[in-house]
């Protein structure tokens, strides 16, 4: 087996091409720029389409156009750019168009800084734009997962006709790790709903407008039933030493890497610690969290935000006293020692 050492940002582009993506529209922003740069290189060199747009607003609308025409499409950005895409993301959802969007989270609000936060959680997981809709949201924790999740995202996007987000962070994008670049190359099936500029699809219409409230209600109900199907089929997580654990970290992305080190250290100290590492945050593993709480475990939601994921953990747990929060903002990350002592305190209660 041959590995390549590469950044998460570059691995995502390799995953995209092998996932059958043919069109990348991008706009530079730190810490996601390497994704557009890599796409400019390998999409162009392989005869696919890369285009640098004039803004993130245009990017998401180019995705809308290319997805309408049946292409497998993607873009990548960071918080400020994703915010600008909000309206377009809502249109994609309303028109039921498949797309893949990567958010390499940086610190906010406003211009913030370029160091990692997980403060785009609400924006991405709860939709990002107006209306009742959701995005499938995958949360990789390694460079290999940047490759794997991005590759798989196109299949999910087509299957459910939804936007699939790769919600990652600056560190996972910037770090290099060995990646197993593996086939097969995936391709989308012919989309009979697309508008391809031919006789077969001439009657097709891509739109999100339904003038009558009863039709708009029906459209909304159809969307919600897709989301329920997604919730029943796609929840994914890794249980790391949770079965015998007294304290269980709940984390995703770069934070889950720090938690993993903390779990090792706690176990060496004789404290039964574990981690529920989320791989999807939409859909969210409500049942698993409830199960852990019911089993008497104390959960520690660890997050680089003001508690956006932790709110979902609390909601799933029902019993708030069984969930603690370790929150870090501004681009700093908790040290292993900090998490260890936090868990020691909680396990002593």
């Amino acid at each position: 087996m041959a590995y390549r050492l590469m950044k998460g940002n570059v691995a995502a582009v390799h995953g995209a091409l092998l996932g059958g993506c043919t069109h990348f529209f991008g706009y530079p922003i730190t810490p996601a720029s390497e994704i557009a740069e890599a796409a400019a290189n390998v999409f162009t060199a392989s005869g696919r389409t890369f285009l640098q747009a004039e803004s993130e607003v245009s990017v998401i609308n180019m995705l809308y156009g290319a997805a309408s025409a049946g292409a497998r499409v993607m873009t990548a950005s960071s918080g400020p750019g994703i915010a600008l895409m909000g309206e377009g993301l809502s249109y994609l959802a309303g028109a039921r168009l498949p797309a893949v969007v990567i958010d390499m989270q940086r610190a906010g609000p406003g211009l913030g800084n370029i160091w990692p936060e997980q403060s785009d959680y609400n924006m991405v997981v709860k939709g990002g734009g107006h209306g009742n809709y959701a995005n499938i949201t995958l949360v990789p924790a390694s460079v290999q997962e940047m490759f794997d999740f991005t590759k798989h995202a196109f299949t999910l996007a087509d299957r459910y006709r939804m936007t699939v987000f790769i919600l990652s962070d600056a560190y996972i994008g910037q770090m290099m790790e060995p990646v197993n670049i593996s086939g097969p190359v995936l391709h989308g099936a012919c989309k009979d709903w697309a508008v391809r500029g031919d006789a077969a699809t001439r009657k097709n219409l891509i739109t999100s407008i339904h003038m009558s409230p009863s039709l708009q209600r029906k459209h909304n109900e159809e969307l919600q039933s897709v989301y329920r199907q997604v919730a029943s089929e796609l929840v994914d997580f890794e249980s790391f030493g949770t079965e015998d654990a007294q304290v269980v970290f709940v984390a995703y992305g770069i934070v889950s890497r720090i938690c993993r080190s903390a779990v090792h250290q706690l176990r060496e100290m004789g404290i039964k610690a574990g981690m529920l590492r989320l791989k999807t945050v939409y859909p969210f593993p409500d049942e698993e969290i409830a199960r852990l709480v019911d089993a008497g475990k104390h959960l520690i939601a660890v997050e680089l935000s003001n508690g956006q994921m932790a709110n979902d953990v609390s909601l799933a747990a029902g019993n708030r006293s069984s969930v603690s929060r370790h929150l870090t903002m501004g681009g700093e990350t908790p040290s292993v020692e900090q998490l260890v002592s936090f868990a020691v305190q909680r396990s002593a209660r």
């Binding site: 696919r48 891509i206 739109t207």
Partner: protein, 473 residues
Amino acid sequence: MNETIAYKKPTSLYETFDRKGSGETCTHYCPGCGHGTIQKLIAEAIDSLGIQDRTIFLSPVGCAVFAYYYYDTGNIQCSHGRAPAVATGVKRTRKDAVVISYQGDGDLAGIGMTEIMHAANRGEHITVFFVNNAIYGMTGGQMAPTTPLGLKTLTTPFGRDYGRDGRPIGMAEVMNALVSPVYIERCSVSNPKDLLRTRKAITKALENQIEGKGFSFVEILSPCPTNWRMTPVDARHWIDTEMSRLFPVGLLRDTEETGLCAPHCVPWMDDSQLLAFLEGKKDPVIETGARVPGGTQRIQIAGFGGQGVLSAGELLATCGMNSSLSVTWLPSYGPEMRGGSAHVSVILSDEPVGSPLVERPDVLLAMSTPALDHFEPLMAPGGLVITNSSIVNRPLRRSDLHHVAIPATTMAKEENLVSAANVVMIASYILISRIFDLDTLRRCIPMVLRKKDLLKKNIALVDKAATYVQEYL
């Protein structure tokens, strides 16, 4: 008796507008509105050019939002102002489609100014029909970017005032400031003569796209009696007497020369080509039996930007990967890379790496004094510090660390490789830690080195570092 068909509805318009309502035959446009006229002209052009199946009609936000009620063509409804970006996505997916972006003045010249300018500037092979009625119609009659000075609208109840609202924008003239468009014309549907001219312009703009010429833009002055508070006849008269003075009709550009080269066309890689391309050169991982001292080494490499700090880390991580160790590489990144300090954290481990962040380095390769100042206090007790003694000339402040000084820059300069001090530092670390053998390093240098012509010199530098370490340490 032979019937003569004097008028036939275009076949690219639906016979009944069932998307509007079952059996509907009327449009949603107000009496005297120009949209119906213009859309019929476009439908007739689609028919006469035989492009009904190929046409993809993009409807905007505004009164024309429901154009898909009427056109028996592919239809995509777009968000406000973004149709040229959507058209870009469509056309770059379906090169044989005829893509029409149909937009009003608020949509195109207000909220969508960015998208139209850049689509035009890229010379997208699309056709834009810009319907200028100098008002926001769908929302009930507010000021548009093209509203004449003095005109009273719902948001300029005392008339448009240039001191407050700016002046009306002539979009055809704005388009004409760009090099890329191949065809720019302003027309009107206010009288039979201008209407015939509009018909020709619409056909020409579509022909340009069929022939692959480039970006075509047709601005059409169009009456809005409802929001102008005029009768349909007065509204047409107002275009001829007032509006056309502000926006003179006429041909602004019709060129065969696009001024643009055809986009560089790269052949499509099939699956096996693509996979081989992305897998890269397959350098097999060799089970060297390398074991990391203590199970895990957390290594910080730091110095000035330009000293090859990040590539030193990449070289070390590559050695680890090719010795089947677990490795992570995490750089300093962003603006601070441009000059100033640079540092990178590398972790080599027998086990999968948890956190890639190095809080307490076991090893520091300090290539500058500020790097040593910054990271020495953070070192784990008993850690190893290798300094580039050509630049760093102070001893360690802590007594619980092992210190090795290597004149890395001097040695690199002696080999005429000023920028290869990083290779000396890595070679020294490998020799001292004995984590890999030097063959692993020699094997991995070509994988990381970007200037391949310097390969031999770099390898020679490894041998020189080995001699130095063996001789002096």
